[in-house]
Symmetry: C2
DNA sequence: CAATGTTGCTCAACCGATAGAGCATCCTTG
DNA sequence: CAAGGATGCTCTATCGGTTGAGCAACATTG
């Protein structure tokens, strides 16, 4: 089958001309044992009763020689890598960007080395990436916005790796998510209120974006419908266009909707900033867009879009709170499945 | 495969109760040697003259047992980790997001495991992250948008790790960057042309954002000035506000500029989308903003901002070309310092 | 039939760091 | 001054995979 699929990088793997320093090199120069050097350099020297004098000598030599610990060897021996992995769908929006940045900072604050990889919302890539992370011995894996979190949890469990879910919940591991239903309900209500304030007739809104079968989109649709009910409106299913997140899909969905002979509703609930791009593009291309007249709401937050638009309502998920909850779970060692549902905030109306 | 850690008290994240499978486990079950198992599982079995029959038996058992290679151990022995690291300043814009996504995809296509970490434009964090990556034995490190690329290269060299620069050039390692000067010159010319087309009087533009001492900002200022010269305009230094990328800094800079008794120029060259946020916020807050009247240009590309604005010109750096050039260098093993300067593209005028 | 080659597999020595056990000294204390 | 303890350090096995060397068994050749 695959005899030789190796070294795609054209075998640039020449042996390094600079031999890496090891504890053995440092030990020789310090006239001490590798054990002593190891203890000094990993901080366990007090416990191991190494004298302050020797510790200082070793530290100085290590510094001078540019010694750098080989974490692979260290992790191998200690059966603990201090690596923490995270899977993220995309880097094309502020939400996941903020999650990635915050995750890294909080991991580092705990002396964990964060490894983040984006999986492009591709289920196969998600599994492959999870397996790769496990092979690299991550101590813990966070699946953020995964299409099938439970599948990932099962893979982790098989290798004894702890896993947690973020943004999208699973049934097999602790999950930290936003209150999508509540946020969507509030956003929908605000869009309707905008219509009222503008003296326009109330009518059911259009829902665009997301995947009907994913938890968050389902919850948002539920909130969307609840807000309609609260306003005494029906929310007919044909106004729900959840054909994916990509801008082109949103454009195509709206085009098909209109081509079906229907009138465009007076307001639109958009499921993400990336989808918003497609929605606005369609509206502009079809001369239906006017910054003052549009009644748009977006379940996602982008400060630049927010400041550039007049009538754009945005829901901001509370990334710091989500990460705080996530790391509280990680710190506590909790691994029972349970969902932590955090409230969202409103950000800007232009 | 039931609950989790045995010692509920104290150290929870301790030893996993699921003992990881090793080649020794598989070897025992297959009635073969660990050597044979290793060879089969890493693909070198043909070279090592293992029979097809044994290979298949081992593969099946490994699959059934859920074996997963310990990359730490593997990397330790082979002195090649197949890890490739990248430092990135921020995840708060599409440019670095696209770089991160593309980098991951191209690394994976080469059987390298990408490790990306964001350093928040913090020089200290950059060095710390570089050192951490080296400790984790990356085979190669890409410094993207680093504040001091040469410092990072020197650290890498001391450990025999290959390094490359992206987005911001260094003098000690190969660098792939955008033609910032040319892009800025074209963008500036386009803004001026917009003024002309709108029948407004030509006047020097304002330059906002970036750090005067970083290469890219310096180049962009040069291009900005060249375009002014081309149009027969002076570009007085007091119109150049390079006080950082953050939105608040841009707002503050403009506020100070105006407070100094000067009139706001008829058009603005903005150095990044993140800065644009601050610029627009100030313009709106001061009633100076009108989507149709504003003459804004941004050296950065954000499709949502682009589609939301009427008169916003954006320069799009050619991320795919940059990554292609980067990996061409990586694949070729090139490590001599040289700068590859790629043209930018225009994207959208609203 | 001996010499040589090929096939299929195993042995043992690593890679670098770490932890348990052990071993001299030196210091107390009765 | 011997027993007991503290101090300061080293020895050695080990984590899991990989690799050069080596060894039977069988096939081929002159």
């Amino acid at each position: 089958m695959n005899g030789n699929s190796r070294d795609a990088a054209g075998n640039t793997a020449r042996r390094p001309n600079v031999r890496r320093k090891t504890i053995y090199d440092v030990a020789r120069l310090a006239g001490a044992s590798p054990t002593a050097v190891s203890a000094v350099l990993n901080g366990s020297w007090r416990k191991r009763r190494i004298s302050e004098a020797l510790a200082e000598r070793i530290l100085k030599i290590a510094e001078d020689e540019g010694y750098s610990r080989n974490m692979q060897a260290s992790a191998l021996r200690r059966e603990r890598s201090h690596l923490i992995g995270m899977l993220v769908p995309k880097y094309d929006n502020r939400y996941f960007g903020a999650i990635a940045e915050g995750f890294e900072a909080m991991a580092r604050a705990r002396d964990l080395f964060p490894i983040i990889t984006c999986t492009l919302r591709d289920p196969r890539l998600e599994l492959e990436a999870a397996r790769a992370m496990i092979a690299h011995q991550v101590d813990c894996l966070v699946a953020c916005g995964a299409t099938d979190p439970d599948r990932i949890t099962r893979i982790c469990q098989a290798s004894g790796v702890r896993s947690l879910n973020l943004d999208l919940p699973g049934k097999l591991a602790p999950s930290v998510i936003s209150d999508n239903r509540g946020g969507a309900q509030a956003l929908t209500a605000a869009i309707l209120q905008g219509l009222r304030a503008a003296g326009k007739p109330l009518a059911p809104l259009l829902f665009v974006g997301g995947r009907a079968h994913d938890h968050n989109t389902a919850e948002r649709i539920a909130g969307f419908r609840a807000a309609h009910a609260d306003a005494g409106l029906a929310a007919p299913p044909e106004l729900t266009l959840a054909a994916g997140y990509a801008p082109e899909k949103a454009e195509a969905a709206i085009a098909a909707f209109v081509a079906g002979g229907r009138n465009l509703p007076p307001g639109v609930f958009v499921n993400s900033t990336i989808t918003l791009e497609g929605v606005v593009r369609w509206l502009k291309a079809n001369d239906a867009y006017d910054t003052r007249a549009a009644h748009l709401g977006c379940f996602d937050w982008d400060p630049l879009a927010s400041v550039l638009s007049e009538n754009l309502l945005m829901v901001r998920q509370d990334v710091p709170a989500m990460l705080a909850a996530l790391f509280a779970l990680i710190d506590s060692g909790e691994s029972r499945a349970a969902i932590i549902d955090l409230p969202t905030r409103f950000a800007g109306g232009g």
